[in-house]
Amino acid sequence: MSKAEEGLNVAGSVPAALSGVPAASDRMIAGDAFRCDVSDLDTHSLIWLNGRLPENLAGRREGLPWQVYRESDHTLVVRVEEGVVVDKPLQIIVLCKREAESGNKDTGLDLALSLRVELGRGAHLTVVHCIDSDRETEASVQGAVRLELAPAARLSWLSLQNINNRCRVENSLRADVAAGAGLHTCFCSLNGGLLQNEQRIDLNGVQAEASALGLYLVDGTQKVYNKVKINHNSPEAHSRQLFKGILDDSASGRFEGHVFVANGAQKTEAYQTNRNLLLTKKAKFQTKPYLEIYADDVKCSHGATIGQLDEKALFYMRCRGISQTTARRLLMYAFAAEVIREIGVVPLEEHLTRLVQRRLRGELNACEDCALHCTATKACANLPW
């Protein structure tokens, strides 16, 4: 049994110190099986196996650009002090995995995980939050995330969900964004029986910014729900929602987007877009864009579409010798890429590109024994798009 399976761990998977950031001197490699393999991306990673927080987080750790500690058995706190710019992403991997001796074979796992991220004034951090499972384990994961951004702080929150069809995830995110701070969230749902992502972002100061992105690719009988509420509590705040998804087979989903502009929140700019491709007649989607505005000097818009692949574009591509299968895939990828391009962290964009391409080819299932399913991704690097 590898160390990882014993329920560790902090795995600072990359030793090299970056300028201004202390090396992860306390590297505790969690075994090669769980090594983070986002190519070209240095990360600090932290694995949360079957709901057990790493024991050795009891005290604060030296040598990391943040403080990480347990507040309770199920609550993890990450704090970045004022002015600290963390240039390596922190990767938090929630892994649902059958353990030979733990008796979760028949009953399934029921995990409640809570995470709080606090950024001091002007601090910067990127968090990659992955929820993964092996192929069989039945699990229900309730993830509560609390984000607090002091003025001028920047936080990118990328949530990646790739779990088997017997797993369900209910993510609930609450964020408070102070003046001049910026929060970017992206929920990327690649596989899972039921994936529910709910977020509420409060913009509490002038020039606070939020962008909420979502990409969901579901098939079979998978279900995906995204619910976003962005509250403009202060004037001069900006927000954007962009959610796109592709539904195949009998998959179904729902989007509820809500922009609330408080009385007096003048000069608000808020944009909301939800676009969906249904590949079959049985796939279903409901979309509910919603703007609630109590100020009169604002720019707000919303748009929602549910449609099919563009037949004219398919014909055009086939006229150039591209097979129907490839043409469909190319169009689907182009559709998804609009979200991926917005992530803003190039190695993550590339990694996600490979995962999405594999997903569209039907190769990416929840998954192999690696937490990030990356073993085959390099083979895809030579594809034409």
């Binding site: 086939r318 006229c319 150039r320 182009a334």
Partner: protein, 251 residues
């Protein structure tokens, strides 16, 4: 004989558009098809390319001796049939470079060849861009997205240069072009004329034929080719219109 169309009838829904087209095209020839609007010129090009909106109800099309109508759209393309679109389609998010690389590699795969490597492709593309003075900048943009009319048509001829088809139908490649763009696009087409290929230009205007000089001019009216002549026929049509022909044919 490169292409032989025999008594071709095609419909969209209940409406018959092609009503017995006969046409023979040899390698090395340039043909112009003219005719009034709504009489089947674009439909003929679409049917040759395999557009599934149209149903062929009668007739036969032999391409290099094979039954073209049995082939899928992409098979026809891989066998060397090219359609230059009157209204090129926008494909947001797919760059011209990746679109062309996919097309070339799919065609190579069809012929049992290995994919073109990145470097070779880049050089090849750079060379072919020159045919229609397509800037590198444009090649990085999404296919036809936000292109002007002229850019779209240049892009069609650029794709033709890349794919080197044996038979190209160019559907109103001159529409929406200003004089300069027309000269560039027509010049591109002329560079692509070879002894072993054939080009069919569909146009309303004699002007294009000043640049791309055809061997034959056909008039398609009422779903049939009603008259075929040398390049001078285009001048006559420019002068007299189509009514005299319609009267002659009793249409």
């Amino acid at each position: 004989m490169l292409l032989e169309i025999k008594d071709l009838h095609a419909s969209i829904g209940d409406k018959e558009i092609l009503r017995g087209v006969n046409l023979r095209i040899n390698e090395g020839e340039v043909h112009a098809i003219m005719g009034p609007n709504g009489n089947g010129k674009s439909t003929l090009a679409s049917v040759i390319a395999g557009n599934e909106m149209f149903t062929v109800t009668k007739g036969e099309v032999l391409y290099k001796g094979k039954n073209l109508l049995d082939m899928s759209i992409e098979e026809r393309a891989c066998e060397g049939v090219f359609l230059g679109f009157q209204y090129p389609v926008e494909i947001p998010g797919v760059s011209i470079a990746s679109f062309m690389r996919t097309a070339i590699n799919e065609q190579r795969k069809y012929h049992g060849q290995d994919p073109m490597d990145m470097l070779e492709f880049a050089q090849y593309m750079e060379e072919k861009q020159k045919v229609v003075e397509l800037t590198e900048n444009l090649a990085k943009r999404s296919v036809n997205e936000g292109f002007s009319g002229g850019e779209k048509k240049k892009n069609e001829i650029f794709q033709m240069a890349m794919l080197q088809p044996s038979l190209a139908f160019l559907d109103e490649t001159d529409s929406g072009l200003d004089i300069d763009a027309l000269r560039i696009v027509a010049g591109g087409v002329n560079q692509l004329r070879r002894k072993d290929n054939a080009i069919v230009v569909i146009t309303h205007y004699q002007r294009l034929l000043d640049y791309i000089v055809p061997d034959f001019v056909h008039v398609l009216a009422g779903g049939k080719i009603v008259k075929t002549g040398p390049k001078e026929l285009a001048l006559e049509l420019e002068e007299k219109g189509y009514d005299w022909l319609k009267a002659e044919e009793g249409l």
